[in-house]
Symmetry: C2
Subunit: 338 residues, 2 copies
DNA sequence: ATGAAAGCGCTAACAC
DNA sequence: GTGTTAGCGCTTTCAT
């Protein structure tokens, strides 16, 4: 059905080996101009497409990379994936996306499946802070770069955004507005984003004189609307913050629901800040003040590092931290004077 | 690095051919129980993973399928992809997602790239009503099923939702509320969803006695917030509908923006209905009345058809139409009596 | 029940 | 500059 290299060679009246050289830009110089033309013409005539499996079998490269994400339905990840895919495909690589459904076991399986597929490298956006699947894969010498989330232990190239700065901007904004009783609903501590942001929160609250009572803080088990709502109820049941800093936008949406359910107005009664600036966060009521993360850029950057690794060689433990920016919208205001 | 079948055979003290038979469920019966056990044990000990390229080269199957989507960042598609991937991976297939960025040329490229990769089949969610890339691929005998959008010409297996019914429910709802001047902002007519819904709209408006003046209708060039806003402005500049039926939720969001910008309240002054029920449409202000489409189910169903095609054989031109359901929320109300 | 051997389509080391 | 040859890891006849 599909033409093979042998067919092309035959039609051009040369040996398959010669045809191979003529078609490969790197070895093209070893062949006379005339033959190159003849072979290329034959290839075009037969609509020849090299068989990547045969080539891969020989070269031990698949020209495929795996992209592991925790949840493709989370609006956070498609831009990362697109940015990465764009770069990768320009570099001649095909990407295979695996969705772990936020499940550590499925992450193990996904990485295993991708490796069985012989991918040349991996982009992992689903890493936990202590992630055996990732560290062992890296230990075996597989090119892998972490995206969006960091992992501890081995020095793995990572592209993420500046969580400290994001939290600093959020806290400064809130404190600047006059808030001190600021509740924090961080994401899970086993994710670098949850952990780092919580740490940064404590740091800047201390520095700026905010209230650090334990009752103002409630960790979310997942980055979800439901968990955000649960955590919001827990905090509101025991105290009365004038502002809430949510671990991410989904959590913030859950908070918004609970605020409404309890007859608290946002931002008049309680100010709210999210994190990520997902699609449509500007369409909520009120439009959400949140920290904008350059997701596409993260994907692009990570893909570039991986690409360089695949072509040039292993990077020095390069960690790229992209800047973030607080987007002030309608969900934050001065606290009411009582 | 990775163990090969030869390694396994050696360790088990048998010939590679025998090891192959022992490991393959289909041929396992041809081998003595004892050898099967010995080989399997050796395989486990060496953490043997068959090399899919070698296997594929021999069997002429890659066990990969391509999934072509117009835009992964559109919340519509991740659920479709996930549903499909789930089914496919259970069937032993790996999926490769290609994003065409809503660009017909890139769709051609994507399909070509996927085919060059020798995928065993294709799921295409990006089809236009007249889609040469799709029809020619099908003509060449490549297993392909259309998802979400239909194409004309060849009888291609398709899984989509019931656009007529969705529009019928929306129009009945609006007319039932007392609206007659209902604006329609359909998606592009070169997409089956845009075309079919527009046709259904005219059909049911005629049947139910709605106003079908041309000035009430404005086609959107893309399914986007910006186009929705543009179309809304165009219509509002020339007439005063009491309700708007948007081609999809993104268009509806654009309409909402324009309504606000013009000081029109929703639903008091203008009712609004979307289509798809994307994530967070219930969090808009007002919560959007929209037609819920079972996206995950569409992906699942399509993957099952493809899987059957790949394993059993070509389906009779099976077209599956999944039911949809109008979700009434806060964006629709009776028109004000004037 | 198992071993032997050929070959999938391609690349690369080695002739000439 | 081009032909020859071997072999990547696997499956699958064909013998035995």
């Amino acid at each position: 059905m599909n033409a093979t290299l042998k067919d092309v060679a035959e039609r051009a009246g040369v040996h398959p080996g010669t045809a191979s050289r003529a078609l490969n830009p790197a070895t093209q110089g070893l062949v006379s101009e005339a033959t190159v033309r003849a072979v290329q013409q034959a290839a075009k005539a037969l609509a020849y497409r090299p068989n990547p499996m045969a080539r891969g079998l020989k070269t031990n490269k698949t020209m495929m990379v795996g992209i592991v994400v925790p949840d493709l339905s989370n609006p956070l990840f498609p831009p990362i994936v697109r940015g990465a895919e764009e770069v990768l495909s320009r570099g001649g690589y095909t990407s295979i996306i695996a969705d772990t459904d936020n499940d550590a076991r499925r992450e193990v399986d996904s990485i295993a499946a991708l490796r069985a597929r012989q991918v040349d490298g991996l982009l992992v956006a689903s890493a936990h802070r202590e992630d055996d699947a990732v560290t062992s894969t890296v230990a075996e010498g597989v090119p892998l770069v972490l995206v969006n989330r960091r992992a501890e232990g081995a020095a793995i190239p990572t592209v993420a955004s500046d969580d400290r700065s994001g939290i600093e901007q959020a806290v400064r904004h809130l404190v600047g507005l006059g808030h001190t009783a600021i509740a924090h609903l961080p994401g899970p501590a086993w994710l670098s984003t949850g952990f780092e942001r919580a740490r940064a929160f404590r740091h800047y609250m201390a520095e700026l004189g905010g209230d650090l009572s334990a009752e103002l803080s409630e960790e979310c088990g997942t980055y979800s609307v439901a968990e955000g709502a649960r955590a919001a109820r827990a905090v509101l049941d025991r105290t009365s913050p004038t502002a809430v800093l949510a671990g991410n936008d989904q959590i913030a949406v859950g908070v918004l629901d609970v605020l409404r359910e309890r007859g608290l107005r946002c931002p008049e009664d309680v100010s709210l800040v999210g994190y990520n600036d997902m699609t449509f966060m500007d369409k909520l009521s009120p439009p959400l003040t949140t920290v904008r993360v350059p997701h596409a850029a993260i994907g692009v950057e990570a893909a570039q590092i991986l690409l360089r690794w695949l072509t040039v060689g292993p990077p020095g433990a390069s960690t790229v931290t992209l800047p973030v920016e607080l987007v002030v919208r309608g969900s934050t205001a001065r606290p009411r004077t009582r």
